[in-house]
Symmetry: D2
Subunit: 474 residues, 4 copies
């Protein structure tokens, strides 16, 4: 599934640690799965902010010797999903700007619904934009004299933003974290062994630097990390916040070792696998995951069912930057560069194959074909989430709804025919929601259900903006 | 375990395919696990040989546009294990030389026991050497006028070599494959969909280019791929060959999707896991593999026992080229860059942890410590092979015997204490050998048993040579 | 002298040529002497603007294969002088932004005196800045709604700018060139063999692409290149423009093959050399130039005097990216990496040495020392311009006035002592001005005379801004 | 002329200096004009030799940080001329090998006439070759047991070599320099300020490291630099050596600041220019050199004649690695990337243009065309050496004799027509030889006169060898 969905973004911030920049480097590395296109670190010595960013993986962007020179004790970092085009360099985050109050850096995970509207209005007022990112709107809002006049500029500005946002700001003397009133994207607070406060999209970032998870940044909350320690207030009263956590973070995005929305991802996925076994039991010889994402769900399925777990694929550990030469069949080879079927493990077998989710369906179809070619007798595909049918306006870059296999085929039976499997079952919406801790209405299930917790006034906004962006920069 | 053993080498050859160079590229990529230090392709248009080699991963060494320019229909390729030092470039294979008969390229997997002796003798006769590789001795032997006079120079030369060798030669008009009389390292023949003969260390190289496995190159056999097709003869009569296949290829080296020594690696490893469960059953809550190598054995163990399978670690997909900054604790971080414990999956649990093998023990110890720190209640380590106590003279670069944990600690109980686990069991030698197809005396188990199928006249040879090499090139 | 003065910037624009991007590449290459830190090309297909920029020399920034893909017929390009610091990437020009009217790219040669004032005022109004360049102020001015309302926004904006500016704008459908009312920096119009209009800082850019010089863009003029051809109007009436051409362009900056301010640089420099010989004749054996800049003046001097011309130095053709190792004496080696004395040509000779100008004096001193060490009997230094004593506010990055040798030493005799030469003469201000075509008051001689044609309201402005920049980005 | 002749090689060696590797780096940099394709340094700590080589310019091959790690006090270095092809990496010098006596590195400037013969004979005896360079033959000769038996192996081997060779050997404990009995290529001894002996192809290498020239290595001499200081003996008695110094080193190759064959290059070239003025006086307005090579000769010409010196071209300081896009006229642009005509300096003028030599003539023709296009009234080309008509077998890579303009056109009048100039004169052979210190028969003038001081038994040898090389490696 990875080739079909672009991941989005990962954040990290730290205040008051002599190795702040190094720890940011490792924390971004641990969150690399949240964004592979670019990486950046802004850090401060308390007075001035340094920016070090680049296109590529964390290990490609940062040079050890240069990184060692930046000994600043305050830092924020960002990894970003993949786009194309030579101009993409301008969009690398954290974004660093100067305004009337001095310097400000910003890192954003999520998507603003009203960015286009705000941007148009600012352009009309004479503003110039150098990126195509919705994040640049936020710095314009922060810099507006009317807003600066407010005793709490940030709270004032955040109340104007519509959509999903986990945000980190770096001012020369502090790090500020904020999360939208719906808590769509995860954001957690932690503490290093030395007592420096940290903030990250996922708790796996804490593990690599030996920090302990403390609590989540709450929906509607602003948390400031500065010399006075951690202080907090709300830009939207907790009583007015209605959680809408992205269930797809649990289904696919987050690392299994992370805890998000107050529970561990691996545990949730295993439960989804067990629930899937209850909803769609199968008489078969072996349960195999589509690597690597569905391994957690696959184990849950096997444990709940009577079918023993097995392994059908090997995966390449070196898939990073391979290229495919034109004379070869492109799609098949792309799949083969990433995995290989263990023929002897599937030949003549009746397989239960577990996928975490199916987006376009082309990659899944390729993998099913490979299993068939290796001699699988029966293939029973079980998907540990419901069919994806709707766009995400809150930060996940699904393909156009028309390209989703669930919309293209319509019925599950039609999808089954397209994927050329013997049977196909998706986990039900209710079943999926039964596997997480909070009440069903505390999650955003829009991509599955079409129910959008944050009203989308102009449903075409996103596409108009994207088209605008394409016109501008490709 | 990977950081403790350097992999060795992988080979590929193809004759008469318009995309021979491309297919060699993909076949090397699929065998990347056999060597990450350097990669090279020599190819011929029927008259002249072109050499394209470099330090690094296959995807780093070869440039797509440059590779497309080399449209030669005959090729051999090589991936090589990691060493250090600036001079290593001279050792990249295939090696290409000119001698009285014209050009010859050679690629080698294995290790020659009598290389030092032969090299000394050649140097005394006036030969000059430009590499520190034992392979260079072979080309000197091939070029010797006395040997050229022989009607079958290659057979004559191969009979003089002692040790393990799977070899590929590229002459301008043909590819020649040969395997030592013990068949220590794997070497298989295949056929592309278009009918071109191919040869590879592992069959996973065939899968990626849509070639079919035909048969193994036999111990003592010379196979020639040329315009007349495939022809074969023996430099040592089959009746005089005594197979001594490296059992460690099944335990650790080879890809689970490959078939070597006539059976699939995944199937063998699963059987080893099952046998381990029979020999060392455990009362526990969950079976988890030490990623990623022990996944096959772990499934076998769980299937045979009553303990359900689970997952205790996540692994980084981006571990390739990370660096570690000096201010961090080096070893712990090195482990953390590669994997992370899923705390919620191990906390309070009684774990059966499956390792494929234990070499120095330091990495295993680190992983066990990480499980303990995450709250594991009990850790029962089960190793799907016997203790490693002896050096390999046939091509696997184990550390010095003194550095092997089994020798340092002596008894299994002492190893258990060192690894700080609640119980420890290794698979027995007999148990391991019961999981493979051929009779026990058809395998080399020297690293476990100390029984060397090929007599090692000067047991210090290897180290002397290595010390010699160090003196020369570091 | 080159190591002591940072060059400034070079511009090029072209409209309606199928090879517009390639020609921009060559035209920037030909103007590389005007800026070595970064290079950039913005080009348009008539609707959208593509930006391709990078740090380094023109030949380093642009990749041939990628450049070939950009087939846009409208383009502007920029080379920029050297600064330091990792953040410098944001300052690369052309700058590309989006505002209410769409896209706009800008390239600037010169320096705005009131940039700090305008920037402060814009920041107070809520603007955010992403670069530390004065150029960003211009795009804010262009985007301001009050200015957009004007029927001629650009003219309106340009009338607000104080200082030196040769500007190129790229809008999706046109190139616009403008020059300040003083014409401080050069800017010329030309025509390719195929009839496409071009504009460049120096005419040497026309030579390399086989374009013909047409005329200079006039002080106060706005020239538009679009589908209707070339059109022109004035934002300041010609009658109100008082030319103040930078005489230092003739003395040092411009390429000898270029014509600027209506006359050829080589011819002017030769005349300065002849005038220098009239003002400061010398009884000596040979006239040698300090390479390479003073070759034109040196020939003029020799021709006018009775002293024969000669050669005292060789220069490295490979000096580009050399590094100097710490154990060596830094400054001496830096000089030696660039030139070498021909000992046999100077030994025992009475030398007239011609410099174009002397800034800090350290490099000149080093060269004189090398001549002395090689056995020169007498060294008579003749400088083909007056002493530099004052800062430039119009785009040349001289060191701090306190670091200028003429200020440090005071009298010419004191400078002579510092440089350790037998005699020293500078060209007089009147003598220098007698070598150019227009009346003396048509040139800016501020760095020599302290007379500033454009009033500098806050003489400290520049340094305040620079300090501000340092605070922000270093 | 540079694009038409490939330079050859430059050497440097040093014994017993703590900064030996650094000084080798600078000394190679100073001799970069002798070879731009590859560079290499072999250094020793007294016991083991380290090799650090690469393709490209000195500044590209060596990384400062890595170079600093090699603190060996004994070193030799080599820069090599340009060839093409991916296999060229194997030919980079110094070559480092192991033989029965241990390690040996070798660096060679020149060309062996009997290399093919020796190579064939060695291959017949079973030797293998890994390079296509004639230098590899020398190491085979050195390693031969029969030769090692000799009490002075090196002298014995050198007596077998036919052709031109300035050689440096590095053994772990010493540097050995040797020069063929004809002294074809230059080789000089010097002494650093700290008293370490050095050896270099050209004395400009001494200047950059503050070493003093001591004397030339004599034809037929072997000089050893070791802990006992400098010792010398002859492999051919001085009385039997007949000097045949390459006059083309003075005409074109060597740096003007260097002294070779006991006199300064600039002084010799100036004398050639004066002699040319005597032989071919011209009534004209200005004398201009074809940049940059002919500047010395041009000054000599002007001084001797009544025509004043001038400047007609500017040259790019950034010409290094430019590329030319296919849509542009290749040859014209290649010339324009390197130089530009100062139109105002040549328009309407009668020019005397000085070239140092003319090889193929195409580049010269292009430059003459550019002068004509700029409006030159008359062009009188004066070449400061005779017509080149014969191949060099001693190390200069002239094009095939059929491609030399002097052979293609035949008469000087025909060449004049081809070059499209108003008059053309070459310096006479006698005139050229009158400008150097030693008797005419002490110089090799083969490329001009066809008289070869070292008999070339198989005049086709070189081409056979080259064809052989092409077959092997392209």
């Amino acid at each position: 599934m990875p080739p079909e969905i672009q991941h989005h973004c990962g954040l990290f911030g730290i205040y008051g640690d002599p190795d702040a920049v190094e720890k940011t480097y490792y924390a971004l590395y641990a969150q690399q799965h949240r964004g592979q296109e670019s990486a950046g670190i802004c850090s401060s010595d308390g007075q001035e902010i340094d920016r070090y960013v680049g296109m590529g993986l964390v290990t490609e962007v940062f040079d050890r010797q240069r990184l060692e020179l930046v000994r600043n004790p305050i830092a924020i970092g960002h990894v970003r999903y993949s786009t194309t085009g030579s101009s993409a360099h301008v969009n690398i985050q954290p974004l660093l700007v100067t305004y009337s109050r001095g310097q400000m850096a910003i890192a954003h995970n999520g998507n603003l619904i009203n960015a286009k509207l705000l941007r148009d209005s600012y352009e009309d007022a004479g503003a110039i934009f150098q990126t195509t990112s919705d994040t640049e709107v936020i710095v314009h809002l922060m810099a507006k004299p009317d807003h600066i006049k407010h005793h709490d500029t940030l709270a004032h500005v955040l109340r104007h933003l519509q959509g999903a946002f986990s945000l980190l700001f770096l001012f020369p003397d502090r790090v500020v974290a904020a999360r939208d009133p719906y808590g769509v994207r995860p954001l957690s607070l932690g503490m290093t062994a030395q007592g420096a406060p940290v903030v990250a999209s996922e708790t796996c970032a804490f593990d690599i630097i030996d920090a302990q998870y403390v609590r989540d940044v709450q929906p509607g909350e602003i948390v400031t990390l500065d010399r006075k320690g951690i202080s907090s207030h709300y830009f939207v009263e907790p009583s007015e916040c209605r959680p809408g956590h992205c269930i797809f973070e649990h289904v696919y995005f987050a690392d299994p070792a992370s805890s998000i929305f107050s529970e561990n991802v691996h545990i949730v996925r295993s439960a989804m696998g067990r629930q899937l076994a209850r909803e769609a039991p199968t008489d078969a010889d072996v349960v195999i995951p589509v690597p690597n994402c569905a391994r957690c769900a696959s184990m849950g399925y096997a444990k709940q069912s009577t079918v023993p777990p097995g392994r059908g694929f090997t995966t390449s550990h070196y898939a990073g930057r391979s290229f495919i030469m034109p004379s070869q069949g492109q799609r098949d080879l792309a799949v083969k560069m990433k995995l290989n079927v263990i023929k002897e493990a599937v030949r003549g077998k009746r397989l239960v194959v577990i996928e975490d989710s199916v987006v376009r369906g082309t990659t899944t179809r390729g993998k099913m074909g490979a299993l068939r070619a290796a001699g699988a007798k029966e293939i029973h595909l079980r998907v540990a989430s419901p069919p994806i049918r709707h766009p995400c306006f809150y930060g996940i870059d699904f393909p156009d709804p028309n390209e989703l296999v669930a919309n293209q085929c319509g019925s599950v039976e039609a999808i089954r025919e397209y994927l050329e499997v013997d049977s196909l079952h998706y986990l039900s919406l209710e079943g999926m929601l039964s596997c997480v801790r909070f009440a069903p209405d505390h999650y955003c299930t829009a991509c599955f259900s079409g129910h959008y917790p944050i009203s989308v006034d102009e449903p075409v906004t996103k596409f108009a903006l994207e088209r605008h962006q394409l016109r501008m920069f490709e």
